[in-house]
Subunit: 456 residues, 2 copies
């Protein structure tokens, strides 16, 4: 009954992490290594990143261990010596993690997470590290763009049906909340993360009644305190008029229709007409909720065109970050046994050495520029972004409540100059490399040239 | 310790599934409903779909039940009456499922799955039904396009680090195998699905040694039967020459270097040069494996330009279906209590009534066209695609082994005329609606017009 058991996350990994580990074991290479996680380039139209996913990553690192049935499977592959598998049995993560906290803004090339641990440990966690930060950062960023486009209007995550699996649905609910959403339709996310959950009815509900108005009445009876009627099943304006009838009946019963939902059609035109129908019928308190293919671009477009919407259900396009469904994110070794290392592969050069990111602000506190420097550097008038969050394999702080992380995001976002919030992603925020970090790169590159390419 | 418990999939659902269910319960609406799952339009450049995801869906339906802690959470939300929650406690899925089998080709508008069950059951599973078929179908389709572009060359799934979560990684490994891949780097997928697993070394491994050639020797020592050397860490051609040295040492020891991997740079130029280096040094048996940003377009492009590659690692772009990260897939009620239903929402009109898909072939057996008709229709000289796979909540067949499903795909794909395999997605395969199905639509639309819009 595999399906009823939790899947171990330790073998949720690329095989090469294990073959490399086996070879390190055989070579008796146990020296510490530092790996750096960063985004190499902005995806389409982005100009900043909202950090997310760190807490689940720390959870993974803290509980890292191979299960007996995993080791049994690895044995069956006949790829690994017994001694190595015995070693894995007791292997735990004992390293240090420095990271930019969730909810903070970061930019390309900046290390989001740096892990220092015996090389095998730092290597074995690679697949999970990237996987656990990639989607959350992508989605928190996308959500923040929707949030920016929507202004004060409220946004709810409606993406679960088309997220890439159920894990993704949870990650999206959590990350979109960090990026400014008020809640989610995802019930499991409500349970696990304590997020507010939202949802009322689908078209099928309306269709299962003989007449549309019967479905409205039935729903109002079941949920008098939380009635949102979906009015576009057959014809939005006809649906709105029936909703007015039901709103009147509810008012007579001392209740109140909360909102109607539009899910198709010309949202600018329809929202104005529906608003007018309710206002003229004496129900100005009934809100208009819109869903159906929204993302930051569609939100901005219809609001600019005068749509009258109070809240949005934002689904698929946010939940899969449709215009940019992955980050060019890499987890690269930057130091081994005290020796700074880099790769020179075409288009994928990494920055050698453990690092820090220094943020400088203007007189009003707005972000002015970031500097990427050596870990041990000090940069005047700047704030260091990477914080030590794990030592000897143990978290240094308890998990932050999500509303607090959202508050971090809101605060950060308010300090990002408006120009960098542009949905087209122009211009880029300035990120520079310090002279000392640059000097290290030049030196390492020269040494590699001498050793590997017969130069110099 | 939530993290160590399997998450129940029943509350991996949108809240509105539960609010509708509560209202159905209150209204005592327990009549059977039929829902149809279909794709409304092809994503970018696609002209067919490879069906995948059915087996995990049947697994979910067969074991459907709410857990005590889920019901406790639902109680805490104060949204639901106690009687309804007590009812959920014993609720199981008792319905019927008809579906197009995994590995078969399907086209837009065709029902991929039809579920008939008491309305609440058929509705409650909606979120999971869409979620469990959406990504697998997307990925199996993307994988089949890579497979087509690669011709006889072998393809391995390398996507795990950038799939949307770990669940997605498993879904992608399974679905890409259905679509023609030979295996995956995902160790957990190897364990769960019995898929062949692949992988050797990363750049970090090379960097952790003082010299590149030391890393090659160490790896050959650890894995003499499966040595694939990554040669682009510093300079691909210099790396290839060092790999020749190691290949010579291995040959002396009675071993053999299996392959080298290229992960960056101009793959056409580099693959030819590396091939020449090995051929001229007397190692024509060493294969060239390529990875790094591949999808069907990049594979086709470099092969057309003369690249000499034996196998590909295909990662992110396949694993997130980067150019089309979601399907416009919907699960729509088509019949309630014997009454065919449809929605008329702008741009989202559904086809009323339970259906069947009929496939017609030419004299050589190639697919000629599909017809969507009523379930009870008979269409001469055609094959019916939807098969009954579950009755009374029980599977009618055991799960198929994945190699067998891949064989179904290979067979189907060989019968699809070449013109529809074009990577640009032109032209579309012909799918027609039978006159009887069309007549039903006209009738239902007329009835809705009369009842809901005061027409006629």
């Amino acid at each position: 009954m595999e399906k009823e058991r939790p899947r171990s996350r330790e073998i949720m990994t690329d095989l090469y992490e294990l073959t490399m580990a086996a070879s390190y074991f055989e070579q008796e290479m146990f020296a510490p290594a530092t790996f750096s996680l960063m985004v190499r380039e902005y995806p389409s139209k982005r100009s900043y990143l909202v950090c997310a996913g760190l807490d689940p990553l720390l959870d993974y690192l803290e509980s890292f261990h191979f299960r007996p049935d995993d080791l049994e499977y690895l044995e069956q592959t006949s790829l690994f010596p017994d001694k190595f598998l015995q070693f894995l049995e007791t292997l735990r993560f004992t390293g240090e993690v420095r990271a930019i906290p969730e909810g903070r803004l970061a930019f390309c090339d900046e290390p989001l997470v740096e892990i220092t641990a015996p090389v095998m440990q730092a290597q074995l966690v690679e697949t999970f590290v990237i996987n656990s930060i990639n989607l959350p950062t992508l989605v928190a960023t996308k959500a923040s763009r929707c949030h920016y486009a929507a202004g004060e209007r409220r946004l709810v995550d409606f993406s679960l049906r088309r997220t890439h699996g159920m894990d993704a649905g949870l990650m999206v609910a959590r990350s979109s909340f960090i990026g400014g959403f008020i809640g989610t339709s995802n019930v499991q996310a409500g349970k696990i993360y304590g997020l507010p959950i939202y949802g009322t009815m689908a078209h099928s509900y309306v269709e299962s009644f003989d007449r549309e108005i019967d479905s409205f009445r039935a729903f109002a009876k079941s949920f008098p305190d939380n009635t949102v009627l979906l009015i576009d099943t057959y014809d939005t304006l006809a649906g709105a008029r029936k909703a007015v009838t039901v709103a009147g009946e509810m008012r007579q019963a001392g209740q109140s229709l909360r909102a109607v939902r539009l899910d198709s059609g010309d949202m600018v035109q329809l929202s104005k007409q529906v608003r007018e129908i309710f206002d003229e019928s004496g129900f100005p308190e009934v809100r208009i909720f819109a869903s159906g293919g929204f993302d930051e671009f569609k939100i901005q477009k219809i609001l600019t065109s005068g749509a009258i919407i109070d809240a949005f259900g934002v689904g698929t396009k946010m939940g899969v970050s449709a215009d940019a469904p992955y980050l060019n994110m890499a987890y690269k070794m930057v130091m081994y046994n005290g020796r700074p290392v880099m790769k020179l592969s075409s288009g994928k050069v990494s920055l050698a050495g453990p690092k820090q990111v220094f943020r400088q602000r203007d007189e009003q506190g707005f972000f002015r520029r970031d500097l990427i420097g050596l870990l041990e550097e000090e940069v005047a008038d700047s704030e260091s972004l990477l914080e030590r969050v794990m030592q000897d394999g143990k978290r240094l702080f308890p998990p932050q409540p999500l509303p607090k992380i959202q508050q971090v995001f809101r605060n950060e976002f308010s300090l990002l100059p408006e120009t960098y919030k542009d949905l087209e992603g122009n211009p880029s925020y300035p990120v520079k490399i310090t002279p000392r970090l640059q000097a290290l790169q030049d030196q390492v590159r020269r040494e590699i040239g001498e050793k590997e390419l017969g130069l110099g």
